[in-house]
Amino acid sequence: MYLKISPPALAGVEMTDKRGKRIATQYPGEIKLKGFHKSSPLRALWDILFNSSAGVHLMTRVKRVLTRRDFLRTGTCAAVGGLIALPLLGSTRVKAGEQSRVVLVRNKEVLDNGGTLRPEILEEMLDQAMCTLLEVPDALSGWRRLFKPDDVVGVKSNVWYHLPTPGELETAIQKRLVAVGVKGKNISVDDRGVLRNPVFQNATALINTRPMRTHHWSGLGTLLKNYIMFTPRPSKYHGNACESLGALWQLPHVVGRTRLNILVMLTPHFHGVGPHSFSARYVWPYSGLIISIDPVAADATGARIIQAKRNLFFGKESPISPPPHHIAVAGSRYGLGHSLPDRIELIKLGWKENLLI
């Protein structure tokens, strides 16, 4: 069953894009909305925007069916949906000329010979990166700029047992939040329980942190993808190599709350095998962290490193499969940041050997 809503029916509803411009009346056709929401116009509006194909049209305004032939026309088929080559069919919402700062910090000593993490060195790396990211003399000044004592902070972690966010990093983040005055009861680290977690339900701020790895559906397990647990229906976002993951960041309990992104590149996983999508053969001690306010820029940087590692390891061009084009789409369609290298100010700190970028 479909409820048909024509633009005039939405005339009284404030439906705007991210820049505050009304878009409902600009949509020339009819919107088909699955189900009836007569008693809840806000819910109806929400479904139009985020749960319907019409919503995709509204969000991108000119979205059309994209096929392999679009890539063949632009001569980019080999990198279908890749980070560089994706044709930008949606409107780009990031301002031209702006760059996103990304800090890549590495320290060879962060892992000992047995691969065990040295927490004190990890904390040094985190502090060093924070100082550079925000151009502050000491790390706590940076944390103070991002978080206020009355903030309620959810730290979105990742518990995937083969390669979880290190507990030592979670602890370091919590320590710094407490140090700038955030109350312990207002801080929570969680992954799969975020929708039931009172801190996340009331969060005024989010920190997003996870290790980068190859992924069966999305090409890469990214910071963008780490928010999949904010929806009760993750499989809804699996279509076309998870290209619409950026939409997760528009969910009402998520939008505008992320203050910091930390992509863990200590032992990234660059090639998945089998049902577990993991093999210890395909991790390596890169010993790095990537930190940015812009999740797209952080992910795009990590993706370039993974791609370079694959090419090196396999001795030939070995594209990430499926292509992680959700990163570029998050920038082009959802306006979450920059994926192109010339829009990223990459600052490299520390260990330079085998940098791959």
């Binding site: 069916v65 063949l72 069966h216 559906w217 049902p275 577990h276 999508s277 993991f278 093999s279 499926p322």
Partner: protein
């Protein structure tokens, strides 16, 4: 070395499989997952198995005293067609003589037999790990008494020039895009009720890729045919042929519930020959 008693259930696998193989010992309890709890076990990769209608998964871990492990997963896919399909999801590796088809790539052995897909993953390199993986594979295979049938749609693939190791079977548009990116929309209307096969061809006329889709009825097949022409081959001639931007030929044809697509062929004669062969076979089998 192992019992050859028939075991068709997870319980009987658990009872009949060895607890120790060449110094590798079973660790922890065997685990069984259904198509919902499988997410807890293998995370997002579970979608692949669910896309093939997975019924359940039996899992056992073997380990050396120092902790290095091998994971044995036995997926009950409900039918031999689905077991074959999930096997074809990843075709990278060297063939092995095990089950009905088997492949081995560094750290991962897998095969299918009857309705089961078996995956043996080596967590970390160890001297005897490869050999243990093969022994375990043999043990599981010996416990599955009979072979299963491959999907019927494969019989419509012309045999001449067919690269048999390239055949994939699936139902889902996401899986099609994983193997051959076609479109961000499901323009072929693939779903759990459609059977699809993708295969590569090479002969003296060049190479080509073929996609076959069997729909539950002619109406759905016609709709897919129409949408494919609209969205993918709007410039096709009256016979459904178009020259792509990369100078390869694509073509589509419909026969009842069967849609045949030549995705890319080096030459038009090759594309024509493939479609003719497919349609002839389809007509005979109707």
């Amino acid at each position: 070395m192992f019992s050859s008693a028939f075991a068709a259930t997870f319980e009987s696998f658990g009872e009949a499989l060895p607890e120790k193989v060449m110094g590798w010992t079973k660790t922890g309890e065997d685990q069984v997952y259904d198509n919902r709890t499988i997410f807890e076990y293998i995370n997002g990769a579970a979608e692949v198995y669910r896309a093939y209608g997975m019924k359940g998964c039996f899992s056992r871990r073997y380990a050396l005293p120092e902790g290095t492990g091998i994971i044995l997963d036995i997926f009950d896919m409900g039918s031999s067609q689905e077991a074959f399909g999930v096997f074809t999801h990843d075709l990278d590796g060297d063939p092995l003589d095990l089950g009905q088809d088997a492949l081995y790539r560094a750290g991962w052995l897998r095969f299918w037999k009857d309705r089961f897909f078996i995956s043996i993953t080596i967590e970390q390199e160890a001297q005897t790990a490869d050999q243990v993986a093969r022994e375990l594979g043999k043990a599981v295979s010996s416990l599955i008494a009979s072979d299963g049938r491959r999907p019927q749609i494969l019989s419509c693939l012309p045999s001449e020039g067919l690269e048999s190791a390239s055949i994939r079977f699936f139902h889902d548009s996401n899986l099609l895009n994983t193997h051959y990116y076609l479109s961000d929309e499901n323009i072929l209307h693939l779903n759990s009720r459609t059977d699809a096969a993708l295969a590569s061809y090479t002969d003296s006329r060049g190479s080509a890729q073929v996609l076959l889709v069997q729909y539950p009825d002619g109406e759905k097949a016609s709709l897919a045919h129409k949408d494919f022409l609209n969205y993918y081959l709007p410039d096709a001639d009256a016979r459904g042929f178009a020259l792509l931007e990369n100078k390869k030929w694509s073509a589509v044809s419909l026969n009842g519930e069967l849609l045949a697509v030549v995705l890319e062929a080096d030459t038009r004669p090759l594309a024509e020959w493939l479609l003719n062969e497919i349609m002839e076979t389809a007509s005979k089998s109707r």
